[in-house]
């Protein structure tokens, strides 16, 4: 049991990077995640409990206050991310802050993440999903469907979109991203 090697969601030893035309699709594996769901009527208590770490965003938005980031997942529900290297125990850390005001769940290994970057970002995502990509400003985050998968789309910058999807479907998602990138290349 002492010779186990970690693999990426796509099964490789190192994260996959594909460059197709103007687009770069990068498998991101250095990101720890924990979800925070406020308990009944405790939204403000959760926000103030986490104020020292990160300000939790409003509907459809995200916040980045290094080393932490957070995006809105649903009503009174957020995903918090941080570098895996330094915050492997992110869920425990967040739980210690919020106490009984929220439920915190470790999410790191449940998801795969691809950062898609390039000038033709909107052209590419228009082929993949029905999200209003052209009106998503940097920092916007929403959940939608892409290749029949429920994914989070998180506009990190004008030319960069993070796609966060179920880890077990990483191969299918990657196939769709490559296909869309090739179709606009």
């Amino acid at each position: 049991m002492h010779n186990l090697k970690p693999i990426t969601p796509l099964g490789g030893a190192t994260p996959r990077v594909d460059t197709i035309g103007a687009m770069t699709i990068t498998e991101v594996v250095d990101c720890a995640m924990a979800s925070v769901a406020a308990r009944n009527d405790q939204r403000d208590a959760v926000k103030s409990a986490l104020a020292g770490k990160i300000s939790l965003p409003e509907v459809g938005l995200s916040t980045m206050e290094a080393p932490y980031s957070a995006f809105w997942m649903g009503m009174d529900q957020w995903m918090i991310t941080a570098p895996h290297e330094s915050h492997e125990l992110l869920a425990q850390e967040v739980k210690a802050d919020v106490g009984d005001t929220a439920s915190v769940v470790e999410q790191t290994d449940a998801w795969c993440r691809f950062d898609v970057a390039g000038q033709d970002l909107c052209d590419m995502f228009e082929r993949l999903c029905n999200a209003p990509v052209r009106s998503m400003a940097a920092g916007a985050a929403l959940r939608g469907t892409l290749e029949h998968l429920g994914v989070f789309l998180w506009r990190l910058e004008d030319t960069t979109m993070a796609v966060i999807a179920p880890r077990s479907s990483a191969g299918s998602l990657h196939h769709a991203l490559i296909g869309a990138a090739k179709s606009i290349a």
Binding site: V59, G60, W72, M73, G74, M75, N130, L142, R143, G144, T145, G150
Partner: protein, 95 residues
């Protein structure tokens, strides 16, 4: 069909799943003496209006919120969309 989500704005109906009549929010108290009859009525008796209908929709491929959608069953026009949570809370406050 487009459902105008109260938080997220207009979203395609394919992102949602339909549950049924919004009266499902009024679950009977299981401890009352006539609970069996109340649950029978709750489960099986429904109005089937030709016209405005309040119904529960789930935003499954989105933020997973429950909505109360008022829809005209003749024209499919959507007249009002509320968060089911707000509806339930308002009802509880009114009681």
């Amino acid at each position: 069909m487009i459902i105008n989500h109260p938080l997220l704005g207009p979203r395609d109906a394919q992102e949602f799943t339909y549950l049924g009549d919004a009266s499902l929010l009024d679950r009977p108290d299981w401890q009352v003496p006539d609970a069996a009859q109340a649950f029978h009525d709750y489960l099986y008796l429904r109005d089937n209006p030709a016209g405005d209908h309040r119904e529960l929709w789930f935003h499954e491929q989105g933020d997973r919120s429950w909505l109360v959608v008022t829809r005209n069953t003749l024209t499919h026009e959507i007249l009002n969309v509320e968060l089911a949570r707000d509806v339930a809370k308002a009802r509880r406050a009114a009681q």
